[in-house]
């Protein structure tokens, strides 16, 4: 039978998990679903952690992200909603707010990168952000993405290549305005 001390210790540990990772999990959820669903899933992710506190590994973030991902997937399976490009861009902008005192150059950079990210496929986008934003190793990120480490490396490589092209060469972006081609005709 558990004691009040056990309960207090468990609550303390859950609070520590929340303090360390809630913001990161929330940002991850904002990239993947709407704010309402993200709010629900965030609390439920940590409720799962509470129930499975003894199973939560160290580091805990990859485990929490897998739980959050599975909850979102099941939610989406019910809702069957599709996000447009604008939705994706809005989700990315919301999940990574620009600091208030950010220089103009960073704002421009952010705009280019987020637009590029929005044009990536969902799996490629997730691959690169799990590493670049969530700070996971490729092996941990592969667990979160639900694929093998080898598969994840392929996704990550492809995502980096495509994002570099999309962010730095606007003409490569589908639908982007192109410069007029030089004419060969002579008068």
């Amino acid at each position: 039978m558990s004691t009040p001390d056990d309960a207090a210790e468990r609550r303390e540990r859950l609070s520590a998990l929340w303090s360390a990772h809630a913001v990161r999990v929330q940002a991850y959820l904002w990239r993947r679903t709407d704010p309402d669903t993200a709010q629900d899933v965030l609390s439920e992710t940590f409720l799962v952690a509470w129930r499975r506190l003894d199973d939560v590994p160290d580091p805990a973030l990859p485990w929490l992200l897998v739980v959050a991902r599975n909850l979102v997937r099941n939610a989406h399976r019910a809702a069957r909603r599709r996000r447009t490009l604008d939705d994706e861009l809005a989700a990315l902008e919301a999940s990574a707010p620009l600091p208030e005192a950010a220089p103009e150059a960073l704002a421009v950079e952010r705009d280019a990168l987020l637009r590029g990210l929005a044009r990536l496929g969902e799996r490629e986008r997730e691959a690169i952000l799990l590493v670049a934003w969530d700070g996971l190793t490729p092996a941990d990120a592969a667990d979160v993405a639900g694929c093998s480490t080898a598969t994840f490396h392929v996704r990550l490589h492809r995502a980096r290549r495509r994002l570099a092209a999309l962010a730095d060469n606007p003409a490569d972006r589908p639908g982007a305005p192109r410069s007029p081609a030089p004419s060969r005709r002579t008068a």
Partner: protein, 452 residues
């Protein structure tokens, strides 16, 4: 700037944008408040928690979590298992690493070998033969990840020389591995190795014999433990019904060594559709065990292998009182779904052959039945090898299937208001977008989940 530099540069540029503050502090606080209410059992449903999804797809119910949550005890809350990382769904290499690590730690054999391989001879085997040592080295190289400085301490289970080929079966008690080598030395041919995890094989009761594992390739190899009082173990191979005759049934004496048995046969002498059985004598009577009896046909009774397969599915769950609900084999994989009287289920996609490793396991309550004429998705799991989706169906639902956008249809197994669809071939993206379709007893077709 080179292309490689540009890609590395993308990582750095993205890292500068990594969110360090909450995208919405108010919602963050609201989520924390909802969590605290659930833990304190004070959630009256009127707080800022968002409305819950309908259609049975929402995995966790905060209401269900309420009673007694704050007693400090680790709650086995069954519905959590469906969303926590599926440890058994990892890659083969990760599984192998984990098993080797666990086995090595248990046996305290880590760090024995650096370059040369030191075999720990089996107590009765004497010095290892060249063939045995070569087999052990090959198995170690193929089965033990490089980062483990580990000697599995192979010991000899059986060895035969058939048609110019050395056949060697080794076991590593430290890691739970059994390995097989065929070395066609006389013919100047090739060497091949196979390894299986067989530590899940149960010890047989008095007078019983059980199956540890089989390898069926160029050679057919079967082995397992022998219980006290069992003797004269034979392997019986019967071709399929069409050309079965007394003369075509083959019986091979197994080699008995200590508390184990083993049989080697050329692979083509065991046709894929043959019925293979173990036959032995115990206490004056002849007994038998069909090696494919883990997966039962209609009307067949459960065997020791059936129970072994079910245990391999449910061992990692804490769900009591399970009984079989759906059990189907498809080629080299099978589906096991078990349910108890409280309508709690455990579902596995697992190897069809011993030791019946599970590749994808989910568990949870199955009491959220939808309306009578409706089917609804509940929860799914995905690994590299297979994808699975489970759900509920009302009394009037005759069949359930998933349809991908390219028209692929995955029929679900349906029993007792619970259904399971799974596939090893449909890709993850197509699987996620698949549409749920069900047919009622009157033949009408319905689609979901929007309509659920």
């Amino acid at each position: 700037m080179s292309t490689a530099d540009r890609r590395a540069d993308v990582d750095e540029r993205l890292a500068r944008l990594a969110p360090t503050t909450s995208p919405d502090p108010e919602r963050l606080d609201a989520a924390r408040a909802a969590l605290d209410r659930a833990l304190d059992g004070t959630d009256d449903g009127t707080g800022p928690t968002r409305s819950r999804w309908v259609g049975g797809a929402h995995v966790l119910d905060l209401d269900a979590a309420r009673p007694g949550l704050d007693d400090g005890a680790p709650h086995p809350a069954l519905d959590d298992a469906v969303v926590v990382p599926l440890r058994r769904g990892r890659t083969a290499r990760e599984r192998r690493r984990q098993r080797v690590q666990l086995g090595a730690a248990a046996a305290g054999v880590v760090g024995v070998v650096a370059v040369g391989l030191v075999l720990a001879p089996s107590p009765a085997a004497g010095p290892a033969s060249t063939t045995e040592a070569s087999c052990a080295a090959s198995l170690t190289a193929s089965a033990v990840p490089e980062e483990f400085d580990l000697d599995p301490a192979w010991s000899l289970l059986a060895q035969e020389h058939i048609d110019g080929t050395d056949l060697t079966l080794l076991r590593s008690p430290a890691t739970g591995m059994t390995g097989f080598c065929s070395d066609a030395t006389d013919a100047g041919g090739s060497t091949s190795t196979s390894t299986l995890w067989t530590d899940a094989a149960p010890a047989p009761l008095h007078g019983e014999v059980s199956l540890g594992g089989t390898v069926h390739d160029e050679w057919y190899v079967a082995w397992g433990p022998v219980g006290p009082g069992a003797r004269a173990v034979r392997l019986q191979v019967e071709p399929d019904d069409d050309d079965r005759s007394d003369s075509s049934t083959r019986i091979v004496d197994a080699v008995l060594d200590g508390d184990g048995w083993s049989v080697f046969l050329p692979g083509d002498e065991v046709p894929p559709d043959a019925r293979v059985s173990l036959v032995w004598t115990a206490y004056g009577t002849e007994r038998s065990l069909a090696l494919d009896s883990a997966w039962l046909e209609d009307g067949e009774s459960a065997t020791a292998l059936t129970e072994q397969r079910r245990r391999a599915c449910t061992d990692d769950s804490d769900v009591p009182g399970l009984r079989p609900l759906i059990e189907k084999r498809y080629d080299d994989l099978g589906l096991t779904a078990m349910m108890n009287d409280r309508r709690e289920v455990v579902v596995c996609i697992q190897d069809a052959q011993p030791p019946y490793d599970s590749w994808n396991t989910t568990s949870g309550p199955a009491d959220s039945a939808p309306a009578r004429d409706v089917a609804a998705a509940y929860v799914g799991g995905s690994t590299d090898r297979a994808r699975m989706l489970t759900g509920f169906a009302g009394d009037d639902v005759a069949s359930v299937e998933l349809e991908t956008e390219d028209g692929t249809v995955i029929p679900a197994e349906l029993a007792d208001g619970y259904w399971v669809a799974w596939s090893t071939t449909v890709g993850e993206a197509a699987w996620d977008e698949a549409r749920l379709v069900w047919y009622l007893e009157d033949g009408s077709r319905h689609e979901g989940p929007e309509s659920s």
